[in-house]
Symmetry: C2
Subunit: 665 residues, 2 copies
Amino acid sequence: MDSSPRRVPLPPPRSTCAKLKTRMKETFFPDDPFRRFNGKPPGTKWLLGAQFLFPILEWAPTYSFSLLKADLVSGLTIASLAIPQASERVHITYFMLFNVYSLLAEGFNAKQGISYAGLANLPPIIGLYSSFIPPLVYAVLGSSRDLAVGPVSIASLIMGSMLRQAVSPSSSPSLFLQLAFTSTFFAGLFQAALGILRLGFIIDYLSKATLVGFMGGAAIIVSLQQLKGLLGIVHFSQQMALVPVMSSVFHETREWSWQTVIMGICFLGLLLLARHISTRKPKLFWVSAGAPLASVIISTLLVFLFQAQKHGISVIGELKRGLNSPSWDKLLFHSFYLGTTVKIGLITGIVSLAEGVAVGRTFAALKGYKVDGNKEMMAIGIMNIVGSCTSCYITTGAFSRSAVNHNAGCKTAMSNIVMSMTVMVTLLFLMPLFIYTPNVVLAAIIITAVVGLIDITAAYHIWKMDKMDFLVCICAFLGVIFISVEEGLAIAVGLSILRILLQITRPKMVIQGNIPGTDIYRNLNHYKEATRVPGFLILAVEAPINFANATYVDERISRWIEEEKEKHITFQFVILDLSAVSAIDTSGISFFMELKKTAEKEGLKLAFINPVGEVMEKLQRANGLHNLFGPEYFYLTTGEAIISLSSLSKESRQGSKGTSGISNL
Amino acid sequence: MDSSPRRVPLPPPRSTCAKLKTRMKETFFPDDPFRRFNGKPPGTKWLLGAQFLFPILEWAPTYSFSLLKADLVSGLTIASLAIPQASERVHITYFMLFNVYSLLAEGFNAKQGISYAGLANLPPIIGLYSSFIPPLVYAVLGSSRDLAVGPVSIASLIMGSMLRQAVSPSSSPSLFLQLAFTSTFFAGLFQAALGILRLGFIIDYLSKATLVGFMGGAAIIVSLQQLKGLLGIVHFSQQMALVPVMSSVFHETREWSWQTVIMGICFLGLLLLARHISTRKPKLFWVSAGAPLASVIISTLLVFLFQAQKHGISVIGELKRGLNSPSWDKLLFHSFYLGTTVKIGLITGIVSLAEGVAVGRTFAALKGYKVDGNKEMMAIGIMNIVGSCTSCYITTGAFSRSAVNHNAGCKTAMSNIVMSMTVMVTLLFLMPLFIYTPNVVLAAIIITAVVGLIDITAAYHIWKMDKMDFLVCICAFLGVIFISVEEGLAIAVGLSILRILLQITRPKMVIQGNIPGTDIYRNLNHYKEATRVPGFLILAVEAPINFANATYVDERISRWIEEEKEKHITFQFVILDLSAVSAIDTSGISFFMELKKTAEKEGLKLAFINPVGEVMEKLQRANGLHNLFGPEYFYLTTGEAIISLSSLSKESRQGSKGTSGISNL
């Protein structure tokens, strides 16, 4: 080793512009989507561009019969899931609408006259519609090969509950539906915009802890809402929080219908049993997958045979056969509702993106291909914009359905097209069969579906791993139950961000010691074998130093110096390990100026270990303005600093006072 | 060195409760205010407690004549500053009120009848009042020995402009004053609460960049507002943004009074000249300090001699002599104004705290004593609560005045008491002298004062040091000028926080190489001499891994692996330096799970360098749930990992396939 210690160099100079470019690239294009175009001839670039916009062009030209066979099987499998699921999920949002349709079937339309004329043409099963058009759009635009598209529980939950707060689905069903389409339109717009503006990282702010708590809370609220159908109550609270719902249930005990209650409990028991079987034996997944459809068929037959609709059991009533009708004329941009629909669109859009992108990434990682998050957002966004114009509500890549798709061996997005076609056949020919389906069975199906969203295992794991994450989870849960869906979500996201800010505001600082027999310096509290180096106070800061923590870091260091003095530990050197200080700002510079003052006042000599390029550069620039620290303050490693400083100190003690910079020791 | 590498141990186990306690202590009690009580007898504890609450008890018992002499000199010096400054600053807020007083003097009160009877008793120079009572309170409660207390420009600016938006000072002056007292009351309440709740770090979020931009913008707006007085315009915009003010100026050119304009320009020139002299020769600080008072005296004499008030120059009019009257009955908690006053209180409270605490800390650091930030907040808060009940508006420790206090050799808070007494004498005996003071001179004084707040040097330094901080500064500046004071501030603070969040969301990750002839591994882009280690990809993450960045870090690592492959660099090991990863959460754990999958798929072996205690602990807990990484994945230094992995790799190549864990290479 040289006798003189190595100096920390300045990083190679780069212009502000070049730095900005790198920063922008890492912020907005971390996946480097244009890499594939590099060095390709123009013709190929065009083709690659088209394939980027329409991933179907990548796989369609080489599509083979063997691929079709695989996709056909998986497509039919997910269709068999999609049909009951679609109604299951749409009910979460539109359960009230079904009651409206039964009203309609009973002549409500005739009584209300022309003001509700448009309503008569409304498609009844929005959920099935949403499993027909959006998958076709996604098959053309989406880059995932495994994502099965359709309505999902969590977005349905939010949309349903937030819409209910704005407008009553039973008193103005047409408006309710219009607002649902409009919200879906805005959701699509936000999703596409996030993708185009490369702001996809926003969905990362919905951490797993937030989503677990949120879904648990929402599931409980929706289950309680279903008590309306399960108990046959007619007058029910429009609110979504726990207290009004429960007071509704027990306030209207006169309205409970015993026939409905019995039927509900039976089917709920059956459905939960089916779920239980499938959970215990994953091979029997078809049991729980088929149970909702079976329940619908059986209950419909029962009602039909016993004419139960005349004995207090309410039924869906007549449903219109046919495909999606256009709905762009139903989009409502009236300023009175604009705020509501934009808000619902924003929240459902982000939440459903979070699910869709996460599911796409998961399966892509499993099969070893890449999904471009921002590209996916554009695909999902356009899918929802198209959906909102064709009587569909919000859709995304559904986790359960995609898992089944993957297990059934899908190869390309063609499986979505197969599913879509199967749903089309259902819409065209099988709709009249639902006339006698009792509402109570739909309530039971919804309860079974949403109860599955309460993920206690995940919450337990979060508790084991990280108490603060668990707090976020619990806040989301309680917020949703006791306040409202969006506020619960906002509290959880706010807490998560607050936690990050607190980590920055109060960064960890540790005191280091030498691990005997080595040149390694580590946290004294972590490594028991580490020992203090006499004469030195070795500190490490583990966060960027900026306006939020410069004061704290300064005070903390002063306190350490004081505490050491109180313990009568003498030292002449303070070594500050800056390895983990990834950035500083102007307040960080002020911190260094303050630190220098403090050290001079206490008669201590400072040394900085391993500052990163940016910190080095800024301190250098500060030198130009304030003449702070020369290169003799910076060392590559703690070991070198200690050797160099000890020898300096010895020199100055042995003679020639005042020649070195530390003569004041 | 041993042949087997050292393992990273788990940190000593601590309960969640103990961790929470440490975290809480570092968050809320980083200055450890109770340390002084440790191990003291109960009697001493009581005394120390009383001294903690009333720092006057610390210095009063040993107060000596020599100290008094020093404090007397400095107290009189700051009083000579305080009297013109107080009116200067109060004018910033209350300029309109002076016009009101002139109206009053002209019989406005008689016309309006009893509804304004209370107003006649209103004290005219709130600024002097605010230099009388609050310093007395601070002298008892404050822990700084150098802070000179009184109204400050920036808080006056905000309060004045925000109040003007809520209520017109010319059409309802009594309400205006009531709201000012109420806002001051709330400001004091917030300040004291922040201190008691130990949330003092909130003021750190007002970074220097924010304050520089904010003050510059506010100064320009207030200067433009003064064009009303300077040009003698009667009808003027109530708004504070640039556009309405300038349109007022040029819309009412008919109202310009040439006598006023000439007088204004002359005095403005004189005042600016005085400022310029003091800036160039700091010894002549008394020139600019005395200039406002001199201008007031000269202009008053001029008006009196030439009876100029009859020739288009408006004057202050009669001012009431006497001390502060109680104002607790003027506090207005009516729900209609509650939102406004709470908002104004919050913003002015935080901004004035930021100034007061920063000034206190600066001078404490210079003299080598400690100021307890949270304790100071309580003192300033109580001072403002008392002030709001005694006809004072918001006060805090003023930078310029404290600097003069310090330079004049103050020893204790007694200098504040001396200043307060001098102000009292002024209030009691010198008030009638202001009858003929022209408003135009006050406008000139205000312009001179606020122009000094435009700190172009500081802005230039910020630009040199940190472009992003400069952006924050410019946004605050433009936001204040074109939108409003509070929105400009909110934009700047939001941007600062966004920057921190972006740093977390897109953490820096670097690729490291070996510095030849050493065991040191550093960033390849920073250290030119560093070289790649063949067969290894050495990466370092420089931020905690959490929900906001887990996806990015994962994708970035995958991209690096891909890029290296594209460059045909072969490697079998990925080494991840976790030294700077100060914390992980549940998403961080998921990241490690994903990383393991990616590595296995690519046939790469992972190694982690120097994880901190918390990370080690959480990965250990994750092992309990998912069996992720054994201790053989963790190394203390990159060097050890490379030696150990190379030898393993050699072993597995030389023979005995499948015995070591890396047989798949």
